[in-house]
Symmetry: none
Subunit: 537 residues, 2 copies
């Protein structure tokens, strides 16, 4: 922290363990609720990125989490340990008899995180027990879990507020956890009200008092969670808790998408394998889509605007030397520079995708340019292909002339009647053509999208019986331009699956039925295309 | 910065000057463009709040700004000085002949802000002149403006990067500005890449080298702009530049909505009159509305979620003592606490909400039980009230008999035709009744939800003209039971806003049109209910 001539930052290859809580503390955020499938997908993405720990649920307070822990145990992870989270034993009970601790052990993870109180007033006024019993609860719990061979991380709730009120007691709490065998002591700024200077000073003092590894857990209520986490590391913490995109209750948790590059690219700490850093933007966007929240395009490092340049002066300078207005290279975190007047997109990423379909094309082939132009046009309309890879593949194929449509839509009409009698209130008429043959049919459904989906399948099934295998497994809608109220553009993402795999397609339109239709058509065509290719092989 | 026992923060009544650049640097953000009227409205709101400076435009680069400066001169401001912003004189020219400086003076403000380069490489490689000429440009410009009696604030662009590359030169730049008579030297972290520790150390060194007042100007590219600004103040800066809601290019400028309460409520500096602090949330929302950007509901201090509590454990603790999970009182910044309903929230949470409507009911009243039963039934159907507080309130009122519907739906019918001609492909017919009066009407729209929304507003507007104020700002759909494909249950969340606040409503149905309809009706009824209650007060 002190100034040393020009060496304001120490370059340090020390390993810092990232502890992701997107699935646990992140699930406390307003509007967030994950299915078991959502959680498994996020686990896979975080493990691929290379975080050290993934805190995934609280089996004691949420019985639904047990299915997740059973299923995640079947997955082989490369980098991460899965964490089950819970409280210490209850006041006046025995650790071995505590139901929550039994659920925690039953989750079957190798590592656990438990939280306990470290602010004297919280013990006496909220928990309503003695300061001694609180120390015993923490010690007993950790010893019990350690006797089962678990790695145990201890979250000292309200640590900084506690230290400011009663430093001796908050240190006693840490020492009780350390003596019981905790592997890491995490200092929590639970209310998010602490300042960088005090986080630095208190962490440094704790560092001198205990030998156990120190962690940091910050909330963003003062908009300083990232800086607070960084300063804790500079004061000696080696474990950082946070969430992807800062998802979390109130103003969010410390944002790992900023902390990770700050620590690794700027300060030289080692958090994840260096070659994985370029996955960061994709992981951030993927989590936003799964959590069904609007991705923050102004987010440092991982937002679309993070490397966008508008002012003419700035753009000139960026062309002369990107260092003029960019603190890191956008590619280092898998993002791209956006020049807002005349966009120049990242061609090499695209080329890799094009070569998967046609390996003969090069960076400067006219066909590559044609695909690029079409994608820009679609992105301008609101398409976003990060999560809709199947639609992306169809677009590339169409532009390369490697695609023959399976059918042609001639017409459709949907009628919705309210009030509905037993849910079936919509009917759809559809007319399609396959080659020279036409088919007109109709179906009823629960709502217009369902009616249309059923009518389309009915019309196509006699030509393509494999359509019966498609199951629509998820359907998400986002409003793109919210100023225009219900006439705004909507983006529909449809996830489909058959017995072998799942795939996601996208449709954008001002009309939700039309957007859904486009995504449905892509879903069907992608399935038929895949079956056709397998038949050829 | 250093630890002093428990006194980690100095309480300091020192005056800190807030310099708001929402209208100048904020206008560099993607998607932001203000009319002259917009700018005048924001000036009035900022002056009422009590900031010291309002940087409002760059008359040299934007001739349209002249009209603004002419009109703003007619307004009497209570707290703020208006600032015109511009560059130093051009390379090799005379300050008195420089066109930009002439425009700057023609703006007629008492105070000006000029920027100059303080990073040697930027002078030689971007500006392409000598280091000496750059010093002369800065000195000449400031002397010229001072000779016209202006207060002159000097922005040292790229100061921190410059200091790290060549500390001697960057200090020469500051000294040249100070000797020429600058009233304040602003250290800019133009690329937003600096770290809190180095900002603190460098600001402290500058403080020792020059006697002139020091300012700080940060960008948020490393998500540390707020912390960096705070540390600069703790190191001796007395002037802080930023924008409302952090509006600004790339990842935004330092957010005054967080810096202000951090400095004044937490550290005890004096930035604005104490009695004005409770205006903060309203000013933040007002600027979002005028700038036409979605207000960030997770924003510290001024977002709807900033004091929202979800977990049952947290809620119990907040009821026992708000300090448990709140770093400041929501009312201190003009915000309010939100207790979110969810499966983890218990009866005490519910009771607090019920008591807001009927204070006479107790935990064991039969009516409380009735509300609880109805909520469980709705949650079982797929309703989730944690984000849809407004629908929640309507449900409670209905169960308590404290609700009279504003209208009755008699019938509706929606027809969707494809292919669509110019997007307008849907039409809706609706029949409603208000008391004994019936209204039947129809509307066309982009998609069925839009058509229905428009038809409903059209039918109701003659009874309730305030409906015209409602703006639909977000629309989200989640599939609840994805196994059933497109016939699955969907949950629609609609966020609406007017000039004062925003509210969220929910609808669940197997039919997306029906679910949307329910959420739309709640949105309208909640607005009318709120207006009615205000009228009664």
């Amino acid at each position: 922290m002190a100034a040393r001539g020009h060496r304001f930052q120490e370059r340090d290859m020390t390993k810092i363990h990232l502890f992701d809580s997107t699935l646990r503390d992140g699930a406390q955020a307003q509007g967030i609720s994950y299915s078991v499938e959502d959680k498994l997908k996020i686990v896979a993405a975080l493990d691929k990125l290379g975080v050290s720990y993934i805190e995934a649920g609280n089996p004691g307070s949420n019985p639904k989490d047990m299915e997740f822990f059973r299923r995640v145990a079947e997955i082989e992870l490369k980098h991460a340990r899965i964490i089950a989270f819970g409280a210490t034993r209850k006041v006046g009970s025995q650790a071995a008899q505590d139901k929550n601790l039994q659920s925690l052990l039953a989750a079957g993870t190798d590592a656990l995180c438990i939280f306990g109180k470290s602010w004297d007033y919280q013990v006496t006024d909220i928990l309503r027990t003695t300061l001694e019993e609180n120390l015993a609860m923490i010690g007993d719990t950790i010893r019990h879990l350690k006797s089962h061979g678990k790695e145990v991380i201890f979250d000292a709730e309200h640590f900084f507020d506690g230290y400011k009120a009663n430093p001796d007691y908050s240190l006693q709490v840490l020492k009780a956890a350390a003596e019981a065998g905790a592997d890491c002591l995490v200092l929590c700024d639970t209310n998010g009200g602490s300042f960088p200077g005090e986080i630095y000073a208190i962490t440094q003092m704790v560092r001198q008092e205990v030998k156990t590894a120190i962690g940091i857990h910050c909330h963003n209520d003062s908009e300083m969670a990232v800086a607070n986490s960084i300063l804790a590391v500079q004061a000696g913490a080696s474990h950082v808790q946070g969430t992807i995109n800062g998802i979390g209750e109130r103003c969010g948790n410390a944002n790992l998408c900023s902390i990770l590059p700050n620590l690794q690219l700027k300060l030289g700490f080692s958090c994840i394998p260096a070659e994985n850093m370029a996955q960061l933007t994709a992981v951030a966007r993927y989590v936003s889509e799964i959590a069904n929240v609007t991705h923050n395009e102004k987010a440092p490092y991982v937002g679309n605007d993070a490397f966008a340049h508008k002012g003419g002066m700035h753009i000139d300078a960026v062309h002369k030397n990107p260092l003029s207005y960019e603190h890191v290279q956008p590619e280092s975190v898998g993002n791209t520079r956006h020049i807002l007047m005349s966009e120049v997109a990242g061609r090499s990423t695209l080329l890799a995708r094009i070569n998967a379909i046609d390996p003969t094309l090069g960076k400067d082939s006219p066909q590559t340019q044609k695909v690029l132009d079409r994608l820009k046009e679609l992105e301008h309309e609101g398409y976003q292909f990060e999560t809709a890879e199947s639609s992306f593949e169809l677009v590339v194929r169409k532009e390369l002339g490697k695609y023959r449509p399976f059918f042609e839509r001639k017409d459709f009409k949907v009628i919705v009647n309210e009030p509905s009698a037993n849910g079936i209130n919509s009917s759809a008429m559809i007319k399609i053509a396959v080659g020279q043959q036409e088919e007109i049919t109709a179906a009823e459904g629960d709502g217009p999208v369902n009616a249309l989906d059923k009518a389309m399948r009915k019309a196509l099934e006699r030509f393509y019986p494999a359509i019966a295998e498609i199951k629509l497994t998820d359907y998400k809608v986002r409003v793109l331009d919210s100023d225009k109220a219900s006439a705004a553009k909507v983006r529909v993402l449809i996830e489909s699956s058959d017995h072998e795999t799942s795939w996601t397609t996208i449709g954008v339109s001002t009309d939700i039925i039309d957007a859904s239709w486009r995504a449905l058509v892509d879903a069907v065509e992608y399935k038929l295309l895949r079956d056709q290719e397998k038949a050829v092989q």
